[in-house]
Structures are given as structure tokens and as C-alpha cells.
Symmetry: C2
Subunit: 197 residues, 2 copies
């Protein structure tokens, strides 16, 4: 299982946003592209992937690759799935998530609870420009990559990651958008650490 946690600092927490202006909806376009990168292969989805979108430290939308049925590659339709999840947000009570469409869940949650939860059973990889080159890392079998949207991690988020991360790696010398980092991380794992396949 490969997992990705993406923090949307300004992301909407209600469905009152326009699909015609995703950048204006707290840069929801960034999160939509991250979902695309996490799941899409040509003509199929990666089933062994889970993605968690942390929306403004209030809700977490979870996508399960093995269950997804209505995911399309374009930003707008993914945003519509997220909007549908937010419409169902009042069905998320306590630790119980709502499940508004196949493979899409919404629950109350924040960055810290999400990161601590996924770190329990996986190798948590912090992507950082000062990390060691990913090629020097043996590909973990159950990695979680934690990424931020168009903003850097806050000081509190960075401190938490420094505390719980198993690895701190860099994917290359250029600073990448979160969705591009997900694509490179997948390729790194697909090719057994860019080596043999």
C-alpha cells in the first residue's frame, strides 16, 4: 500500500465553492491534481493507493484506490467529488466517516491526527529539499509520503514531521509541485528505486 497525505491549508470546508474557479477555492486545483497523480495510470487506476486530503485542519477526504469508481483525470470532476464529500460532511460523526461515493470518505480530522495515524503502520517519508537523495533509500514496502499544497508546511507541521518521519528524502534538485512529486515518487517505487524493472 502506497499512501499520500496532502495538506490543503486554504482548502474549502464547505461545498460553497464554484467549480469554475478552483484556484479561487483555496487552490483546490492543487489537491485535484494530487489525486490525479496518486491514482491514474493509462487506462486504469492504481488500486493499491490511498490518498488523504487534509482540508484546512478540519476535514480529511480519503480516497481508496481499490474502491474508486467515479474518478476522472480532469481537475473539475475531481473537485466535484470533493464537493460531494463536503456536502456529506455532517454524516461524519466523531470517528465515523461518511462515504458519499465509491472510494471517497470524509471525516473530521487534522494534519496531526492524520500523520500520527498513518505513521503507525507505514514508513513515513518526508519530502524535503534538504533530505538525502531518494535513490539512496531502499524502497519501503508501505510508504506514506506527506506533501504540502502551494504553501510550505507551517512550523508546527514541520516540527511534527521531523518528530515522526522515518525518512527525510529529496526527489531531485528542483523544487516540485506536490502533484509532480507524487508522480516521481510513484515512478521511483515502480522502478525499484529508479533501478531495475
Amino acid at each position: 500500500m502506497r499512501q499520500f497525505v496532502v495538506v490543503g491549508h486554504d482548502a474549502p470546508t464547505t461545498p460553497d465553492f464554484s467549480l469554475e474557479d478552483l484556484p479561487g477555492a483555496g487552490r483546490l486545483d492543487v489537491l485535484c491534481r494530487c489525486v490525479n497523480s496518486a491514482f491514474f495510470l493509462s487506462h486504469t487506476l492504481r488500486e493499491n493507493v490511498r490518498a488523504h486530503l487534509v482540508l484546512a485542519d478540519e476535514y480529511v477526504v480519503r480516497f481508496e484506490g481499490a474502491e474508486l469508481r467515479r474518478l476522472n483525470p480532469d481537475e473539475r470532476s475531481t473537485a466535484a467529488l470533493i464537493r460531494g464529500a463536503l456536502e456529506a460532511r455532517e454524516g461524519a460523526i466523531g470517528a465515523m466517516e461518511a462515504n458519499p461515493s465509491p472510494g471517497v470518505y470524509i471525516g473530521k480530522g487534522d494534519f496531526e491526527s492524520t500523520v500520527r495515524s498513518v505513521a503507525e503502520e507505514s514508513t513515513l517519508v518526508e519530502l524535503h529539499e534538504d533530505g538525502r537523495p531518494v535513490v539512496d533509500l531502499d524502497p519501503p514496502s508501505d510508504p506514506v509520503f506527506v506533501l504540502s499544497d502551494h504553501h510550505d508546511f507551517t512550523d508546527a507541521e514541520a516540527a511534527l514531521l521531523a518528530d515522526v518521519a522515518d525518512e527525510r528524502v529529496s526527489l531531485g534538485p528542483e523544487p516540485l509541485h506536490a502533484d509532480h512529486a507524487i508522480t516521481v515518487a510513484h515512478n521511483y517505487l515502480d522502478t525499484d528505486g529508479f533501478g531495475i524493472y
Copy 2:
């Protein structure tokens, strides 16, 4: 200079399409994501990149990284740039392109003329699942990667590529969307062939 040629088999050749339905506009969403992958780094653009979108073998929209000023990461705004180029298409006469916005050019052209033109001065890399692993290739200094949209290359396109390509490589064992392939190709070049950086 890194170049990317992306073929949009069903792409629009007039500006009469809706920004609210890019998948319905001949899968223009795919081409928009390719432009994003070709140019965006965190907080900056890759200036040393040129991308050519071949629209239904009728027009070619060319993006110049060093000149681009109004490119944003989201699909919709990139589609608006392409629509603006198509609105200016009648200004492209013979071999002369129109230049409707900074770094965006439109000219008459097709796959064959585009591929033959870029192949003259660059190392043309065909991405193919049966190609040799990209890690075995020494990173060329002036590569052109040729990619197809959601369709495979036609037989005629594949025959042309087989004829003019300098290299035929595979980026990994999984079949990638064109935009993801561009991201991986950039990372391969950024890291000097996934090696040292």
C-alpha cells in the same frame, strides 16, 4: 533546451468550446496538464523548455518557457490560453505564426512537420513501453520527447517516429499518462539520469 511534442488527436481547432467541459473538448484537459508538467516548478517556470501541442493535425500551439507570462497551473486557465491562440489562428499565414500572448504561438502544422522540424536539431526520444529503460540512456543535452494524448499513436505516427527517433526508451514498467511521463522525464534529466545531483 528540453522540448515536448504532444499530439492531441481530437483537440479543438476552433475556439468554440466550453471551459466548463475540457474533457468534452477533445480531451483538452490532457493537453493542459501536459503544459503544466512541462513548465511548472514550485514558484517558478522552467525557462529552458519549449512545448508543442499538435491540434488535430491542423494547428500547432507552441509555448516558450523563457517568454511565458500568463501561465497558471490549473487546467482551465491553460485552456483559456489555448482558446486565445485559436482565436488568433487566422493570423497564422503560411509559415508565419501568430503570437496572441507572451510565449504562446500558433501556426499551421501537423504531427509530421512538427516532428521532422524538431528532430533536425535535437535528440528525438520516443517514449514506448517496449523501449530500453531510460536509466540506460545518457541524458541528452537537447532532448525532444514525443507523446500522445489519451489515444495511442496512429500507425502512421508510429511509423514516422520509428523512422526519425534517435532513442526509444521506457520510463518504467507502468503505462503513464502523457503529463506524468513529462514529469518523470524532467526528473530524469534534473537528476542526471536518476543518478547524482
